[in-house]
């Protein structure tokens, strides 16, 4: 896979929202199709900005962003997104929440009525794989935070995106639920091999899930380190308690520490 053309390609990209200076600066990187990439860095380092550029929600002020061989000119519907807050709609059942993207994205939106039964099947399958079978007809406020986040990931995946963007998706969960969801995400990824961009504060999360970890500097965000994680796959949670993993996290931690004290 290493020799194929990059799926996501950033060439000297900078973005300034206003006159206060660049949010991210001079970022060049490429992501292979099917790669799992994590971005870590101190808060306010422009990780979320990176996501906006990647999905075409924002255009760069300098440099160029290419996804799937074409320059990004607007919102990319091959992307699915999930955030720290699940943002499920409280008047829709879990199932209907997951189906929402299909009511909007082309070409499914025009087929939604006709193929509804089929789409419901997709949603149910997806919900089952994340362990939400039997909760389809519950409303979001009847679910726990972890379950809401699972549903939110299903919503991001329902239209079979090739690029999944996750912005601190597990940030608001307790430690045990978070680790459970790491495994859910790992299994989804192992099965479908979409490309993932994960933005996180959690170094263990990044190291456990990703193929490649990028460390970003303080604002203006630059990439100061690219680290390939060569731990064998599939990874079990137990890996995170072993020496190589702990050393790796330690090194990443030191890098962040240097940035923060700089």
């Amino acid at each position: 896979m290493a020799d194929s053309t990059p799926f996501v390609d950033f060439d000297r990209v900078s973005l300034a929202y206003d006159d206060s200076g660049n949010a991210i600066e001079d970022i060049s990187l490429s992501i292979r199709e099917g790669e799992f990439v994590a971005f870590v860095g101190p808060s306010g380092c422009g990780k979320s900005t990176f996501m906006k550029l990647c999905t075409g929600l924002h255009a760069p002020t300098a440099g160029s962003v290419q996804v799937d061989g074409a320059a990004v000119g607007g919102p990319l519907k091959i992307c699915g997104m999930a955030f720290q807050s699940a943002n499920l709609l409280p008047w829709r059942t879990t199932l209907d929440n997951v189906l929402l993207p299909l009511e909007i994205v082309k070409p499914y939106r025009s087929q939604f009525r006709k193929r509804r039964a089929e789409f419901v099947g997709w949603a149910r399958d997806l919900l089952r794989t994340v362990g939400l079978e039997g909760y389809e007809d519950q409303y979001p406020w009847q679910l726990s935070g972890g379950m809401q986040q699972r549903a939110s990931i299903c919503r991001a995946l329902i239209h079979r995106p090739r690029l999944l963007m996750l912005d601190e998706p597990f940030g608001a969960l307790d430690a045990f639920t978070r680790e459970e969801l790491w495994c859910v995400l790992r299994d989804l990824w192992e099965a479908q091999r979409f490309t993932v961009v994960l933005v996180t504060h959690d170094l263990r999360e990044a190291a456990f899930l990703a193929d490649t970890v990028y460390v970003m500097s303080r604002r203006p965000g630059r990439i100061i380190e690219r680290r390939e994680i060569d731990l064998p796959r599939p990874r079990e949670l137990a890996v995170t308690y072993e020496k190589p993993f702990i050393d790796l996290v330690q090194q990443l931690r030191n890098l962040i520490g240097d940035i923060r004290s700089a």
Partner: protein, 255 residues
């Protein structure tokens, strides 16, 4: 909560009404207030019965003009709220204007309306409308304008147009705000109608009270007050019920 508590909770408002009536009756009698100053509860009740015919006629006038003004307020309020709430620019542009407009005492409009439309139902309807559309606009606009940016990103990346986001997320999301505002708006609409009737009409409860007052028939004036507040309460409860029905998901904590 057991059934006994529930029953007590349901009866409590009725008991409060009865208590108020009792205090009213007893204090008027004890203090021997003359009826042309402050009629007793029983005298007011008697007036209600004696003048049931005219009161009924004038209440009907007040009710339908209020509802007409309210309907107009809902239509305009919804439309304006939708427009203002769906555009940041318009929201910022129009909000101060609306606040300024709302601060004008609506009774000040009545003479203008009379010059334009003569006395009668039209100024009453328009005053009710003017006074009641503001809370609807503000609530609908706020409901729409406070959409979570993440939710918008999720949909925009899928190629959602502005109208998609508004219909799928914004509008259902603002419904609880909308229904909450209806309860406020309907009571305000009564205020508008009655205010207009007292100065610029020869029908309606406002007019009835005004003319009864000028003849020192205070029992009839008070009967008019009671009828207005009863109508407003009934309408309020109606919209409270509708709110519960339509937006149960927003009130899950109170089940």
């Amino acid at each position: 909560m057991n059934n006994n508590d529930k029953l007590r909770e349901r009866l409590a408002p009725w008991v409060a009404v009865l208590a108020l009536v009792a205090i009213w009756e007893v204090s008027v009698r004890l203090l021997q207030v003359p009826e042309f100053i402050f009629p007793s509860a029983s005298a007011t009740a008697q007036a209600l019965v004696t003048f049931a015919g005219p009161i009924g006629m004038h209440s009907w006038q007040t009710l339908w003009t209020t509802l007409a003004g309210f309907a107009l307020g809902v239509a305009v309020g919804l439309a304006l709220g939708f427009v203002i709430g769906s555009s940041r620019f318009l929201y910022h542009a129009c909000y101060p204007l609306l606040v300024g407009f709302n601060a004008i005492p609506k009774v000040a409009f009545v003479p203008i309306l009379v010059v334009w439309f003569g006395i009668g139902s039209v100024p009453a309807i328009l005053t009710a409308f003017l006074i009641c559309f503001f809370p609807i606009v503000v609530n609908v606009a706020t409901g729409l304008a406070t959409l979570e940016p993440e939710m918008e990103d999720v949909l925009r990346v899928l190629g959602a147009r502005r109208i998609d986001v508004l219909l799928k997320v914004g509008l259902p999301r603002s419904l609880p705000y909308f229904f909450a505002s209806l309860k406020i708006a309907i009571t305000l609409a009564f205020v508008g109608t009655v205010v207009s009737e007292t100065v610029a009409s020869n029908q309606g409860i406002g007019y009835l009270m005004m003319s009864a007052g000028s003849q020192m028939r205070m029992a009839l004036v008070f009967a008019g007050l009671i009828v207005i507040s009863a109508m407003a309460m009934v309408m309020y409860e109606l919209f409270a019920l509708l709110e519960k029905r339509m937006t149960g998901w927003a009130h899950r904590g109170q089940r």
